[in-house]
């Protein structure tokens, strides 16, 4: 008598799983691992919201090829080791068809060996060029790379005929990778690095390093970093009365930076995705309608957009379009179709992927913007 309830429960479970599999059309499973908590949460949070928002609207519109989309997400908290574990879990336990994610370069780079071994398409939302250089069979990325940011800044310096610059970067992965690209590209643009200072990303005062920079003959200062410290750097520059042009990276292309740096942010230039200046784009720009639509849909539910959410939009739709063209979720076919992405107009630019280029963005994807009256202004 005692054992009866167990039997009923077991029977119920068996029955319900049997019913489930018979009922619903096989969903397309999209796996994701993002940094929704921790120091890089300001990147991962809008990315996850974007994914959830659009998966919902894809399903409301009947799914892909008549199949619903299921999003399975794990939060890495920015810990690379966890990223590897979650990617394994997505592939082996959740049996996902493809993966969109890796908010940070560290997370993505950690996951690559597993992804390559298992042969599953991965569309990364992180920045480092190392992710797609050298080209890896199954790995794609949609975020602007740090090399593009460096090139864009140097291009602008060349236009302003400034040749001597001082670098100041943090000790995080993003900072270091950016610094490396700046140092590598400088000779190509005829630019001399006259100072190369660094700070800890938890520092609250950077005046010592900036004082050193003031003593050099630098004509401009480039600060490559994300989070709060670049705002402190910008403030300190103003406090020290340094009048040089200041460049920041795309890592601070958010309203938060302007709020944190306050007045000091006036006149700061940075390469940014077109999303931050969507309204100012000429109507002839093919990206404008896409950007405005994304902005509208996102802001209706969550408040101000950030360019990082835009990466998730691009990653998701490049994958979705590839699944549509492949006519199913065969991993090899989907991979081939992602590689054939041509003229995809996304939030970060127009994507043209090739077997040699698994990112497919060119320098036009960045706009050089200047902070003006607490807002963004295109300066090209």
């Amino acid at each position: 008598m005692n054992k009866q309830p167990w039997k009923i429960i077991v029977a119920a479970i068996l029955l319900s799983t049997g019913l489930n599999s018979a009922q619903a059309a096989d969903p397309i499973k999209i796996g994701s691992f993002l940094t929704v908590t921790g120091p890089a949460s300001f990147l991962g949070d809008p990315e996850l919201k974007t994914l959830q928002l659009y998966v919902e609207s894809i399903n409301a519109g009947g799914g892909i090829n008549g199949r619903p989309v299921e999003l399975i997400h794990y939060d890495t908290g920015g810990k690379a080791q966890d990223a590897v574990g979650f990617v394994k879990r997505l592939i082996k336990n959740d049996n996902v068809d493809l993966i969109v994610g890796g908010t940070t370069s560290g997370d993505t780079l950690a996951a690559i060996p597993e992804v390559e071994k298992e042969g599953i398409p991965l569309v990364s939302l992180a920045g480092a060029v190392d992710i797609v250089e050298p080209v890896k069979k199954w790995v794609f990325k949609v975020a602007h790379s740090d090399r593009m940011a460096a090139a864009k800044i140097f291009e602008d310096l060349r236009k302003r005929k400034l040749t001597k610059v001082a670098l100041i970067t943090g000790d995080g992965g993003f900072d270091k990778s950016g610094r490396e690209q700046l140092l590598k590209l400088a000779p190509e643009y005829g630019i001399t690095i006259v100072a190369d200072e660094s700070y800890g990303n938890k520092d609250t005062d950077i005046t010592a390093q900036l004082t050193k920079i003031r003593a050099t003959d630098a004509q401009a200062i480039i600060n490559f970093g994300f989070g709060q410290t670049p705002a402190i750097v910008t403030k300190n520059i103003k406090q020290l009365g340094i009048k040089l042009p200041v460049y920041q990276s795309h890592g601070v292309a958010s309203k938060t930076f302007i709020d944190l740096a306050g007045d000091a942010a006036e006149g700061v230039r940075l390469p940014a995705a077109a999303l931050v200046v969507a309204e100012q784009l000429p109507d002839s720009d093919p990206q404008k309608p896409v950007l405005l639509a994304y902005k509208k849909q996102y802001e209706a539910k969550y408040g101000p957009v950030s360019t990082f959410g835009g990466h998730a939009y691009d990653g998701l739709f490049i994958a979705v379009e590839a699944v549509k063209r492949a006519g199913g979720t065969d991993k090899a076919k989907v991979r081939d179709q992602i590689e054939k992405t041509k003229g995809f107009i996304g939030a970060s630019g127009v994507f043209n992927m090739t077997p040699e280029d698994h990112m497919g963005l060119n320098l036009d994807a960045f706009k050089m913007v200047e902070i003006h009256n607490g807002g963004w202004k295109i300066v090209e």
């Binding site: 082996k92 597993e114 270091k176």
Partner: protein
């Protein structure tokens, strides 16, 4: 009789993949649990038996991992040679550190090992030319054991389980040896142990080196198994996790440490589904164990089971 628990563990480790073939929680999580068991059992020798705290144990784990990663990727060392180099460097480091560090007690020892762990972590982050900096090193080749490439989760499971069993067996034997008895004497009273004719400095140095070797070995396997290393895997929170495993399972019991390692790994994996509440539940569970089972999960639960059993017997 002494090794009954060991045979039981070996049986479970061997049977699980047969009973649940290809199950993610066995092959993938099992590998992580196995590595943690090696680490915890090694650390337990130091914390549980010798009564010395270490808050920097992840550093030795990291040294093994980075030795394998750097030597195989940058200098094309064969994996086993790189592994040996990792063992030797971690062993030497532990030996060099042991004398000055293990003269300290209590909080001071905790501080010193904490500092050591942080220094090694900083080196991993800053020495970009060697370690690849915060982004770490990728492209670590497969582990090949005498022509047998460890290239699937199943194979890794067997390699790690075999190593884990070896580690447990070594620890059990060590504990029951002359050295093990000397260590327990040191924990009881260092002064008393010295009066009994035990060279306490030597005993402590030995156990520190052994536990560093366990960690470095696990680190090398970890590097090959993940194909990637980054400083995140060897930071302070990992060191603390290791101490938690030892304490959670029950100090001064090899099976306790192993049990703690498995429990914490599974807990972490199981709580992921709760997303935002993960840390909350995690913390609450740890507190509950410490309050209600202060001798640790293993000892506490086995005592509870025994008590329950006698109660059942009496009723009949």
């Amino acid at each position: 009789m002494r090794l009954t628990g060991f045979y039981a563990l070996a049986l479970v480790a061997g049977l699980l993949p047969v009973l649940f073939p290809g199950n993610y929680f066995i092959t993938v999580v099992g590998i992580a649990a196995g590595l943690n068991v090696i680490l915890a059992v090694g650390l337990n020798l130091l914390i549980g038996y010798a009564g010395q705290i270490s808050l920097g144990h992840a550093a030795f784990f990291g040294m093994g991992a980075y030795a394998s990663a750097i030597l195989t990727t940058r200098y094309a060392f064969p994996p086993l040679l790189a592994l040996s180099a990792g063992l030797i460097s971690a062993g030497l480091m532990a030996w060099g550190l042991a004398r000055p560090i293990l003269r300290l007690h209590g909080h001071y020892l905790a501080m010193a090992t904490l500092g050591f762990g942080i220094i090694i972590h900083v080196i991993m982050v800053q020495a970009t030319g060697w370690t690849g900096g915060p982004d770490g090193l990728t492209g670590i080749p497969l582990l090949v054991l005498f022509g047998w490439a460890v290239d699937s989760d199943q194979r890794w499971y067997f390699v790690i389980m075999a190593t884990m069993l070896l580690a447990v067996w070594l620890a059990l034997n060590l504990v029951d040896s002359r050295i093990g008895r000397a260590l327990r004497a040191v924990r009881g009273s260092e002064f008393g142990a010295r009066m009994m004719g035990i060279d306490t400095a030597r005993a402590k140095t030995q156990v520190f080196v052994v536990s560093a070797l366990f960690a470095a070995f696990a680190g090398s396997l970890f590097a090959h198994q993940q194909g990637f290393v980054s400083p995140d895997s060897f930071n302070l929170s990992i060191s603390i996790d290791l101490v938690i495993m030892v304490v959670l399972g029950g100090m001064a019991s090899t099976f306790g440490a192993a049990f703690g390692a498995i429990a914490l790994t599974l807990l972490h994996e199981g709580l992921v589904v709760f997303e935002d509440y993960e840390m909350l539940i995690h913390g609450a569970l740890l507190m509950a164990v410490m309050i209600f089972l202060p001798q640790g999960l293993f000892v506490g639960l086995s005592q509870g089971a025994r008590r329950g059993w006698t109660l059942v017997c009496r009723r009949q």
